[in-house]
Symmetry: C2
Subunit: 297 residues, 2 copies
């Protein structure tokens, strides 16, 4: 997808206000720790790829939207890792924010990143002010209640949970926000792009379940086997690794079919297929699954 | 100040999206618990009073800004009360959110309220889209890093803290956001209104310190004596109750003097004096202080 380095630059620019030397130094360090170095930056890349496919006419805004999506994602990771949730000791191959800076600064870093995301979006909208309100609504829906990440995480506190509803909110909602915001930043309608995001979000969640159930922790930079240990809903736990990989392939096909007509539809279809292959290599279905299944057992 | 009932209605309208029957029910209940019944709603009233003084020409937007300010305030209370910060058992006379719903839902409710605040602001801006970006910037500065509430709270994690810097971020910043947003919603410039908010924020923080040090817990709906017990910076602890009350009076005088020329300046000055008297009654200086000092000792 689009150049990783331009996304890193946009995130660095968004974080610059925090690094001006004012404010509490430990919070600034915790915020940096939460954002850099990043993971795959898959959501902002998706946002930019959709903007590009729609003939992006306001690159400053699409980049701001992409950075905002990633900052919201980082915020959710910091709060998900907290002791009262997953109590994850590591993230992206090093200490989670609360392990490195304490629980209080982890709560505040998450809060600060949510605020910074909307602030970044607002700044980017200087080039097209009339697009700000719809973009803001899209991102808020992707992370708030009752449909977004916050709601998804809160399903973990309910005794009755529908797995698809849970995953749609916890993962699909921000993917849908990424595709829709990409379209909106480029002046296109948002609704036609929701389905692509939801398919990809579900596929990504299944890929995460597969990796949690079967991958080497050194490879993914965080502990594995957490879903089973924490009794969390997981397609890989429910359907087994082989069933989960087949499910993943169906979801990717659904995503490709959901790309609406636009100037860059062909290139976007190829991109989605290519990135999906990176997430869950086709080879897994034949070569790796038997050994993965042993690890996960 | 302006009708409390209109603010409650605006907050109820903002919360309506959460109560649509979708989403996890416990999160919806925790969000309602965090917002209703409210405290004094002093920040949204201040926001509306300033908009009014500036000749409010977009009441839907000023009300949305006021509701957003209050939602951000509620979010900060929920997270401040968490076990890793104050571990406050009560708030506004009943169980704090984490005591009523558990720590996980308290973290998520705070997150959800921050998102809802920006969402509400965006919806209100339909009547004047060009005012959205500056309003968003003002609110984000009031709550984010390095200047806003999040930074203020994070100063509690530092070993070296300047008391005024801490209070300006923790309390003054959102008061300043309230006055500035009120002006911006009404189409006026923001900067001229920063000083009023900062003076009032500092005055309010001192009033809070005074009440924490000397008030009856039944009166203020939360435990008292926490600042001293937690070793938190407090003017009442540092200067004694009598000195703190004098300090409060000076700050209110500063606030009144800071009101910039505007159509409703006279009425606003009278309002600030009246509300300040409600916060820390003049009678305290002569009649109540000796007994308060005994309680606080």
């Amino acid at each position: 997808m689009q150049s990783r380095s331009s996304i890193e630059k946009a995130l660095a620019a968004a974080m610059a206000a925090i690094d001006e030397g004012r404010g509490p130094p430990k919070l600034a360090a915790a915020l940096r720790h939460a954002v850099f170095p990043g993971g795959a930056r898959i959501r902002p890349q998706l946002c930019l790829a959709v903007a590009d496919a729609c003939g992006d006419d306001a690159p400053a805004l699409s980049m701001a939207a992409a950075a905002a999506v990633e900052l919201l994602h980082c915020a959710s990771l910091v709060h998900d890792d907290l002791p009262c949730f997953d109590d994850a000791p590591t993230r992206r191959g090093r200490a989670s924010v609360h392990r490195a800076f304490g629980e209080r600064l982890a709560v505040l870093a998450g809060d600060g990143l949510i605020v910074l995301a909307f602030q970044t979006l607002g700044q980017g909208a200087a080039v097209a002010p009339q697009r700000l309100a719809p973009l803001l609504a899209t991102l808020a829906r992707g992370v708030g209640a009752p449909d977004g990440i916050t709601a998804g995480q809160a399903w973990e506190c309910e005794s009755q949970v529908d797995l698809r509803e849970y995953q749609r909110a916890k993962t699909g909602a921000l993917f849908a926000a990424a595709t829709m915001a990409g379209a909106q930043a480029a002046g296109a309608g948002a609704e036609a792009w929701r389905a692509l995001g939801e398919w990809l979000g579900e596929a990504y969640q299944v890929a995460d379940d597969i990796r949690d159930a079967g991958a080497d922790p050194r490879w993914i930079g965080k502990p594995v086997g957490r879903d089973r240990a924490l009794g969390r809903p997981s397609v890989a736990v429910e359907q087994g690794l082989s069933g989960a990989v087949q499910h993943f392939d169906r979801l990717v096909a659904g995503a490709v079919a959901a790309i609406p007509p636009c100037p860059g539809a062909g290139a976007l279809r190829a991109l989605v297929r290519h990135e999906s292959e990176r997430l869950v290599p086709l080879a897994w279905s034949s070569e790796l699954l038997p050994s993965l299944a042993r690890v996960a057992a």
